[in-house]
């Protein structure tokens, strides 16, 4: 029999530290497989976040940096400007991208930096104990909104990828998910597209990935993926919000 699926060599042969059913390691695999398939292993540089994925550099067998909380796209900007032939991506969570790092992410996109932001959205601050994030859904209980998020008190759910899509420097903005095989395949295709947009010099690219956090959602892994399917994708619709490469090829 022929081996048709195995771990990509861009991921080190070490176990992940994530909780059972976490979406982070699925996203790690997709990014690593795309880097491998594009032949960019020697030219890829990743910037992990603060949060559960802070140790991502233990898993990717490529050059990795580290950024203070929220500053992933700012650090990626510096690296890409000095080494423009490299594939540079930040890997960040929702609190990182859309709360403490709002300014950095927003302005990196607006400047049209040719970097990619892999934006993991699980609706909570995972590592610190499941506190409410900007992306927490209305009514969703967290440790800091135990009665559920109330927009009058906590503010509204922030859909950051839609906002980034409106900026002229953003070339590609998409929301995907990793809760079932079909969605995982589409997420991988979106990461590939984002990296190609970056290397074509079209501008900023962001791939939001809806990701399960069973531990902080107080669910089993299977309940968590069903919650994404039934609830989260209603609030955060999956889809492409901007694709300048499509417009460019259409004009050609």
């Amino acid at each position: 029999m022929k081996k048709v699926f195995t771990k990509t060599p861009v991921l080190k042969p070490v176990p992940f530290h994530y909780c059972p059913g976490c979406g982070h390691s699925i996203a790690h695999r997709l990014v690593a497989e795309v880097i491998d398939e594009m032949g960019m292993r020697g030219k890829a540089i990743g910037i992990p976040p603060a949060g559960c994925a802070v140790l991502a550099y233990n898993y990717f067998d490529i050059d990795m940096g580290e950024a203070p909380h929220g500053r992933g796209t700012a650090v990626a900007t510096g690296i890409k400007r000095v080494l423009p032939d490299r594939l540079v991506f930040s890997y960040q969570g929702d609190g990182d991208v859309a709360a403490i790092g709002t300014a950095e992410t927003f302005h990196s996109a607006n400047r049209g930096e040719c970097i990619t932001c892999i934006f993991i959205n699980n609706g909570v601050y995972g590592m610190t104990g499941g506190q409410m994030a900007p992306t927490t859904m209305v009514g969703q209980p967290t440790t800091t909104s135990p009665g559920g998020r109330d927009p009058k008190f906590h503010g509204h759910t922030l859909k950051f990828t839609e906002i980034l899509a409106q900026l002229p420097g953003t070339a590609y903005a998409v929301r995907t998910a990793v809760h079932k095989p079909a969605a995982i395949r589409k997420a991988k295709a979106a990461i590939r597209k984002a990296f190609e947009v970056q290397m074509a010099g079209l501008g900023f690219s962001v791939v939001e990935i809806l990701s399960p956090c069973p531990t902080n959602w107080k669910m089993t892994p299977v309940q968590a993926i069903k919650w994404i399917d039934k609830q989260v994708t209603k609030e955060f619709p999956i889809g492409v919000f901007k694709d300048l490469s499509a417009e460019k090829s259409h004009a050609d």
């Binding site: 048709v4 699926f5 059972p20 089993t220």
Partner: protein
């Protein structure tokens, strides 16, 4: 059997997502515990007359990348 899978039981955390993904219900959590203390997933060669087709859906879903998939050629 057109396909088969090999599960690295030491990596498995028993999340059960592969069990949800398998179209022929060929995965289940076993009785044994691994070193981490999880009931790891085990592969059944056949259930209700159906075997593995090597579709890779379990491996695509596995957060631990603990599953290798083999398929008959041709």
């Amino acid at each position: 059997m057109k396909g088969k899978i090999v599960i690295d039981s030491a990596l498995c955390k028993g999340c059960g997502l592969c069990i949800e993904a398998c179209p022929n219900k060929l995965l289940e959590l076993g009785e044994e515990l691994n070193e981490k203390g999880y009931h790891f997933a085990v592969f059944l060669e056949e259930r209700d007359g159906k075997g593995c087709v090597g579709c890779t859906l379990c491996a695509i879903t596995c957060p631990e990348v603990a599953i290798e998939v083999y398929r008959e050629e041709g």
